[in-house]
C-alpha cells in the first residue's frame, strides 16, 4: 500500500476532528442533562419542602383547634398547651411557605390568602378561649356554633390543596422532560462512543498500515544502501587495483625498457671503440689516390658513423631520462606518506633559500607573504611540490623585466590554499591543463626540461588529497594555486593498500 505522508496526515486529522466533534456533542448533551437534572432536583426539593410546610401549617391549625375544643369541653387548662404551641408556630410556618413560594405570583397569592385564613382562625380560637376563661361559656360556644371556624378551616384546606396540586403537575412535566432528555443523551453517548470507537479504530488501522509501508520502504532503502556500500567498496577496490596495476606497469616498463637500453648504449660504445681503432688504422695508411670506394669508406668512418653514433647516444640518453621520469612518478605513487605537523613558513623559507643564488643571478626577488598557515601533511612531498613550482617560476621568467615571485597562503576552515605567483612569460590558455601532463611543455622550447615537473607536482598534490590549478596570462605571469587539507588523514588509503 502506497500513501504519501501528507495524505495520511490529512486523513488522520479529519478523523480526529470528527471524533472530537462527536466527543463535544456528548459533552454538550451531558452538560444539558446535568443542568436539567439539577433544575429538576431543585424543583423537587422545593416541592417537598412546600408539601411539608403545607402539611405542617394544616396540622398546626388543627392542633390549635383540637386544643380549643378540649378546653371548651372540659375547661381543663391542660388542653390549652397544644393550642398555645401550635398558635405560636403558625406565623413562622407561613413565613416559610412565603419563602418557598418566592417568585411565583400564583403561589404567593395563595400563601397570602392562607395567612388571612390562618389569622381569622386564630382570631376565632383566641376569642372563644378568652370568653371561656372569663366564665362566659355560652357566648363562647355560640361562636363555635356559628360554624365560622369550620368554614375557615375548610377554606384553608382548599387553599393548601391549590398550592400543592399545580406544583405537583409541574414536577410531573419536568420529570417527563428529564426522562426524554436522558434517553436522547443515552443515544447520543452510545452513538458518539461507537463513532469515536470506529474513528480511533480507523486511525489505528491507518497508522498501522502506514507504519508497515514505512518499514517496508525503510527495508528497501536499507538493502539498497547495503548494496550501494558494497558497490562503492567494489568500485574503490577496482580503482585501487587499477591504480596498483598502473604502478606495477610503470615500474615494469621502466625496468624492462632500461635493460635493452643498456645494451644499445653499451654496444654503441663498443662500436665507438671499434670505430676509433679503425680510424686510427686508416689514419696510419696513405690515401689511396682516387679510389672512390676508399674515399667512401673514409668519409663513412670520419663523418657518417660518428654522426649516427651521436644520434643513437642523444636518443638513448633522452629515453633514459623519460624512463627515469616514469619510474620516479611510479615510485612517488607507491611511497608511503607520513603526515606530520609542517610549518609552511619554515618549509618555504628553506625552499626559497636553496633558490636564492640562482634567483640572485637573474635579478629575481622572491617574497613570502607570511606568516603562512601550517598543516599536517607529508613533508617530503610538500618540499618536492614547492621546489618544482619555484624551479619553474625561476626557469620561465621573462628576461625583459626583473623577476618577481610571491608566495602566499591562506586558511579556509579545513583547507589551506597556497599560491606561487610569478611575473614570468606566462602560459597560453589552451595549455593550462596540458602542462600537468607527463612530457608536455608549453611555449617556446628554449629551456632545458622533459615536461616532468608539473606532472610530478600534480601526482604529489593529489596524493596529499589536494589539487593544483593555474591561472596565467601570457606575457604577464602565472599563479599556481595549491589547495591542501589542513590535516592529511590516510585512513581511506590504508585498507585499500592491504586489500
Amino acid at each position: 500500500m502506497h500513501m504519501s505522508g501528507s495524505t495520511v496526515t490529512r486523513r488522520a486529522l479529519l478523523m480526529l476532528l470528527a471524533a472530537a466533534l462527536a466527543l463535544l456533542a456528548i459533552i454538550v448533551m451531558s452538560g444539558w442533562l446535568a443542568d436539567s437534572t439539577r433544575q429538576y432536583s431543585g424543583s423537587l426539593s422545593r416541592m417537598t419542602a412546600l408539601r411539608v410546610a403545607a402539611g405542617t401549617l394544616l396540622s398546626q391549625l388543627q392542633d390549635a383547634e383540637i386544643g380549643q375544643r378540649g378546653y371548651l369541653l372540659t375547661e381543663d387548662r391542660r388542653y390549652l398547651k397544644p393550642y398555645e404551641a401550635a398558635d405560636a408556630a403558625v406565623e413562622s410556618t407561613i413565613a416559610r411557605l412565603r419563602e418557598l413560594a418566592d417568585g411565583n405570583a400564583d403561589e404567593l397569592r395563595i400563601v397570602d390568602r392562607l395567612a388571612v385564613l390562618a389569622a381569622g382562625k386564630r382570631e376565632e380560637l383566641a376569642e372563644t378561649i378568652a370568653l371561656m376563661k372569663a366564665g362566659r361559656r355560652d357566648e363562647s360556644l355560640a361562636i363555635v356554633r356559628t360554624g365560622r371556624g369550620m368554614s375557615l378551616m375548610d377554606d384553608a384546606r382548599r387553599s393548601l390543596a391549590d398550592l400543592i396540586t399545580p406544583a405537583d403537575a409541574q414536577l410531573d412535566t419536568q420529570l417527563g422532560a428529564l426522562t426524554r432528555q436522558a434517553r436522547i443523551s443515552g443515544w447520543v453517548a452510545n452513538l458518539g462512543g461507537l463513532f469515536i470507537l470506529l474513528v480511533v479504530g480507523g486511525a489505528v488501522w491507518i497508522a498501522l498500515s502506514y507504519t508497515r509501508a514505512l518499514m517496508q520502504a525503510q527495508r528497501a532503502i536499507q538493502s539498497l544502501n547495503d548494496s550501494l556500500e558494497q558497490r562503492v567498496s567494489d568500485r574503490t577496490m577496482e580503482l585501487q587495483r587499477a591504480n596498483d596495476e598502473i604502478q606495477r606497469f610503470a615500474y615494469i616498463v621502466s625496468h624492462d625498457l632500461r635493460a635493452p637500453l643498456v645494451n644499445v648504449m653499451g654496444f654503441t660504445s663498443e662500436l665507438e671503440a671499434g670505430l676509433a681503432s679503425v680510424t686510427a688504422d686508416l689514419d696510419r695508411r696513405p690515401a689511396e689516390g682516387d679510389d672512390p670506394m676508399a674515399a667512401e669508406a673514409r668519409r663513412a668512418v670520419a663523418e657518417d658513423m660518428p654522426e649516427a653514433i651521436g644520434f643513437i647516444r642523444t636518443s638513448t640518453t633522452k629515453m633514459d631520462r623519460l624512463i627515469n621520469a616514469i619510474l620516479a612518478l611510479s615510485r612517488q605513487g607507491s611511497r608511503t606518506l607520513s603526515p606530520e605537523p609542517v610549518s609552511m613558513q619554515a618549509l618555504l623559507e628553506n625552499a626559497v633559500g636553496s633558490f636564492r643564488h640562482r634567483a640572485g643571478e637573474l635579478r629575481c626577488a622572491i617574497d613570502i607573504a607570511g606568516p603562512l598557515p601550517s598543516l599536517v601533511s607529508d613533508r617530503l612531498a610538500l618540499e618536492q611540490v614547492f621546489g618544482n613550482l619555484l624551479d619553474n617560476a625561476i626557469k620561465y621568467l621573462d628576461p625583459a623585466r626583473p623577476g618577481r615571485i610571491a608566495i602566499r597562503g591562506r586558511a579556509e576552515e579545513d583547507r589551506l590554499t597556497f599560491e606561487v605567483a610569478d611575473n614570468g612569460r606566462g602560459i597560453a590558455p589552451q595549455d593550462h591543463e596540458r602542462i600537468f601532463e607527463l612530457f608536455r611543455r608549453s611555449g617556446v622550447q628554449d629551456r632545458p626540461g622533459e615536461g616532468i615537473g608539473l606532472a610530478y607536482v600534480r601526482t604529489l598534490v593529489r596524493r596529499l588529497q589536494g589539487d593544483v590549478t593555474v591561472d596565467s596570462v601570457p606575457g604577464q605571469g602565472s599563479v599556481f594555486r595549491i589547495s591542501l587539507p589542513r590535516i592529511l588523514t590516510l585512513a581511506s588509503e590504508k585498507p585499500a593498500h592491504d586489500a
Binding site: R258, A259, L261, L327
Partner: protein, 149 residues
C-alpha cells in the same frame, strides 16, 4: 691452504646476453682473467651453486664470486641472494648485485640480506664500464675466505 686470486671463479647470473657480454668485456678490459661461469636463469645457477640435492655441499671448498642480476625470468635475484646467505657453504661468497634500477628500497633490501656490492647498470655506458672495472680491482684485493669443511 693459500688461495691465489686467479683461482677465484666468477659466477655470472644474468639473463640478458647483451649485458652478460658487456660485463665480461669490461671485466676482461680491467685485466681480470678469472674464469667466468655464465648462467642465464636462476634454476640452473642454483643447481650449480647448491648441487643437485640443493644442500650446498657442492660449493664446499669452492672460491666463488657471484655477479647477480635481480631480474631473472624464472625467479628474482633476491631469492637467490637469500638462499646464498642462508646456506653455511655459500654465505661467505661475495655477491655483487647488478640491476637496472636504483630503487633505494631495493638496494637497502639487498644489503640487508647480505649483498656485498650493489651496482646499478646505468645507461650511461662509461660509468657502467668504470664500475665494472673497479669491480675488477675489487676482485684482485678481496681475500676470499677458505670455505669451511
Amino acid at each position: 691452504m693459500m688461495r691465489d686470486p686467479q683461482t677465484v671463479c666468477i659466477v655470472m647470473i644474468e639473463d640478458d646476453e647483451g649485458h652478460a657480454r658487456l660485463i665480461e668485456k669490461n671485466i676482461r678490459r680491467a685485466g681480470v682473467t678469472n674464469e667466468i661461469v655464465p648462467f642465464t636463469d636462476g634454476t640452473s645457477a642454483l643447481a650449480y651453486l647448491f648441487g643437485a640435492d640443493g644442500s650446498g655441499q657442492a660449493s664446499m671448498g669452492r672460491a666463488l664470486l657471484i655477479l647477480l642480476d635481480l631480474n631473472l625470468p624464472d625467479m628474482t635475484g633476491v631469492d637467490i641472494l637469500s638462499r646464498l646467505k642462508a646456506n653455511p657453504h655459500t654465505k661467505r661468497f661475495p655477491v655483487v648485485v647488478l640491476t637496472t634500477t636504483d630503487d633505494r628500497q631495493e638496494i637497502q633490501r639487498c644489503y640487508d640480506i647480505g649483498a656485498n656490492v650493489y651496482i646499478t647498470k646505468p645507461v650511461n655506458y662509461e660509468s657502467f664500464a668504470t664500475a665494472i672495472r673497479q669491480l675488477g680491482l675489487f676482485f684482485s684485493v678481496i681475500q676470499v675466505p677458505e670455505a669451511e669443511a
